[in-house]
């Protein structure tokens, strides 16, 4: 039947404009259901409906012509009959009889019903998992880190559990600094004493600061200590999707059994549970069950639990039962260390002055640092150049020009005035009351830190002040950051909003 589909696509390729063919017909994956009927799987409902409206009739006509006039039934479905990665054909063959007509393999994230291709977190028959690994490798031979996300472990009963931990994210590859040392220490504690008093471990902070890395590091450590530990990393979206599918398929008990049977559950970005009441309800029960059973939970979020809008109070309160810890944007030294570490991992020589230069220019988060480093590496490979400071300046000049454009003195003045709820005109005025002078000093210090303007230029931009005034402001704010928590917090917040 799939051979017939090949012939059909050849004909459609002649009939349709190439772009239509490539967009709508090419992504369809053909398979056969248990009744020998052709099943075409579209990646989503949108593509499926489009194909149904525009092409299905013609597809059936062609198939009928090719099949000697016999009518060929075609079923359109959503999902991947033969997932392009991790194809566990043995698992499908061993699966119990499917209800007829069976839909082709939507993704499930839990153990049952076993009608689908095993996906994230699913328990796979051993042989299937082995085969799926080999398929994955063959498909991804070009990918350097092929298969690193899909760690399978042997567990009781001869089935394999996939943790979806990224093996690159370990404690040894994590760069510890002032901004994340508490979170790092807490994660270490949890890794050595899972299910103990730091349960759940709730890590919160801005984007790209290493929350996910720490979470994976704990998971990897747990599995290295006990290769049979059932650890699962999921993004919150995945948990929600699984639950929705479980409800649709009447398989909520399997869903519960799977999630509650884990030794450690790591859920990333739980802020996306906000507003999803049914998922929260289910998560609440899963959470309680795991906690009662002494299984470790690690959660990450972009903010402190109490600040998550749209999340039930009982969940917020439970998140605080264990240890809640924040990560801050890395300071310069940590950024330099991160760059050097990443360069080492990528087998690339990055001189210290070059790392310092990139780190001093890109402050917002580690992802941007990594992006800049990748750009340098790609350009060095393309041009065959040695990585030096001048080369880096040339390679990143457009990126840095954009950053400079983004952080201008004008912009800093505007953001600071908004932050302190004062008028921009007051900030630039001669007024010296504390409520105006302090924000002005903060704005001056930020201008010195974030722009390349000289002290006289900055003074001039602040109502024609002398450069010594700017110098005094910078020193004062530095001093206050050490002694005054409010100023420290304000400065940090402003720095973040100006560089993100």
């Amino acid at each position: 039947m799939t051979g017939l589909w090949q012939d059909c696509t050849s004909q459609l390729q002649h009939e349709l404009p190439a772009q239509q063919y490539n967009t709508w017909i090419r992504p369809l994956l053909a398979s056969e259901n248990s009744q020998g009927q052709l099943v075409l799987s579209a990646p989503n409902r949108f593509v499926k409906d489009w194909v149904k409206d525009k092409y299905l009739q013609r597809i059936q006509e062609i198939l009928s012509e090719l099949n000697g006039g016999r009518i060929t039934h075609v079923e359109l479905a959503i999902g991947s009959a033969q997932p392009m990665f991790q194809v566990p054909s043995a698992a499908r063959a061993e699966a119990p009889a499917r209800p007829a007509p069976p839909p082709p393999a939507p993704d499930y994230g839990f153990a049952a019903p076993p009608t689908s291709a095993p996906e994230q977190g699913e328990l796979l028959p051993d042989s299937a998992a082995v085969e799926s690994t080999s398929v994955s490798t063959s498909v991804n031979t070009s990918t350097a880190s092929s298969g690193r996300n899909k760690r399978g472990v042997q567990v009781e009963g001869g089935v394999r559990h996939q943790s979806f931990l990224n093996q690159d994210f370990t404690f040894s590859s994590f760069v510890e600094g002032k901004s994340n040392q508490l979170a790092h220490a807490a994660a270490r504690q949890v890794a050595d004493n899972a299910g103990g008093s730091y349960n759940p471990l709730f890590i919160y902070g801005g984007v790209g600061l290493g929350k996910t890395h720490l979470m994976h590091a704990v998971g990897n450590h747990l599995q290295s200590k006990n290769p049979n530990a059932k650890v699962l990393y999921v993004h919150s979206e995945r948990f929600v999707q699984d639950m929705v599918k479980a409800l649709q398929l009447g398989a909520i008990n399997e869903f519960k059994r799977f999630y509650r049977g884990l030794d450690a559950l790591l859920i990333d970005d739980i802020q996306f549970f906000a507003g999803k009441d049914r998922s929260q309800e289910e998560f609440f029960h899963t959470f309680n069950a795991l906690l009662e059973g002494g299984q470790q939970m690690i959660l990450t979020c972009d903010r402190y639990p109490k600040e998550i809008e749209g999340l039930e109070d009982r969940l917020k309160s439970r998140f605080g039962w264990g240890l809640t810890i924040g990560v801050e944007p890395p300071e310069l030294e940590t950024r330099v260390a991160i760059l050097l570490k990443k360069a080492e991992q990528a087998d690339m020589h990055l001189p210290d002055d070059a790392a310092f230069f990139i780190a001093s220019k890109i402050r917002s988060n580690v992802r941007e640092l990594e992006g800049a480093l990748k750009r340098v590496r790609a350009n060095a490979q393309f041009t065959g150049s040695e990585i030096t400071l001048p080369f880096i300046k040339e390679t990143l000049k457009d990126l840095l020009a954009l950053q400079d454009k983004q952080v201008s003195v004008d912009n800093i003045q505007r953001i600071v005035a908004e932050y302190y709820k004062i008028k921009l005109a007051d900030l630039l005025s001669k007024r010296r009351t504390r409520s105006i002078a302090r924000p002005r000093q903060v704005a001056m210090a930020l201008s010195k830190e974030l722009t390349n303007h000289s002290l006289p230029e900055i003074g001039s931009a602040f109502g024609g002040r002398d450069h010594t005034t700017v110098l005094h402001a910078c020193r004062k704010i530095k001093e206050l950051q050490e002694s005054n928590a409010d100023i420290r917090e304000d400065y940090k917040n402003l720095l973040r909003s100006l560089t993100t």
Binding site: H14, E15, L16, P17, A18, Q19, Q20, N22, T23, W24, R26, P27, A42, P43, N44, R45, F46, K54, Y55, R58, E61, I78, G79, S80, P83, M84, F85, D107, Q120, N140, S142, T143, A144, S145, S146, R148, N149, F164, V207, G208, H235, E237, D269, F272, D302, R367, E368, E370, G371, K374, R375, A378, N379, Q381, F382, D398, L399, L402, Q406, T500
Partner: protein
Amino acid sequence: MAVMSSLAPAQLPLSIGIRDDARFANFHCGPNEHIVHALQQQWTTHGEPYLYVWGKSGVGCSHLLQAACHYAEGLGHHSIYLPLDELQHYGVETLDGMEQIPLVALDRIDAVAGHADWEQALFHLFNRIRDRQGHLLIAAQAAPNHIGVTLPDLCSRLSWGVVYGMTELDDVEKAKALQLRARRRGLDMTDEVARYVLTRGPREMQALFDLLERLDVASLSAQRKLTIPFVKSSMGW
């Protein structure tokens, strides 16, 4: 060849899909050679699976994304090209399940920036593609931090791969691009004619290519070579 009426392109309200002629071979790199190289390297061991290409309208971002899809298909990898400016009315569901395709090319992501539902859907798609170690190409008219994305989680991910800004071609390079495109169509365009077209014609590259298409049709029907007098009379200049 039996062609059903419902297959007529006129009935499709969208132009979603990749142009058959949008190939790397049909693209004049000029100062953007390193970007084409990076796109071709995507499938090699040292290639970066996620690239973000930005540039003003007409600089060739869409062409490159489509060429990358053709290139992937040539290597046996399925791909899908999704121009989000055209797809935004169909809702975020359009992105569901796309991670199953080894290469997803999202064009004009800036068109949906600022829409909370799209931003969240793109964020989740990004994570799913990354989990599967899939390949992702994104094009927009500005750099990641300048397209108005409000979801920080998405914004940081957009800067995670290699970000390239396309450099606009100068007149000399535009003439070369025009000549390359003409040659690929079997037309001989001399330097003089190319310069003439550039002096009198539109400045934007896509508009120049459209003009070339009109000249191609005119030259074919008149059985004339592309000369300055012919171009002048055909275009009414």
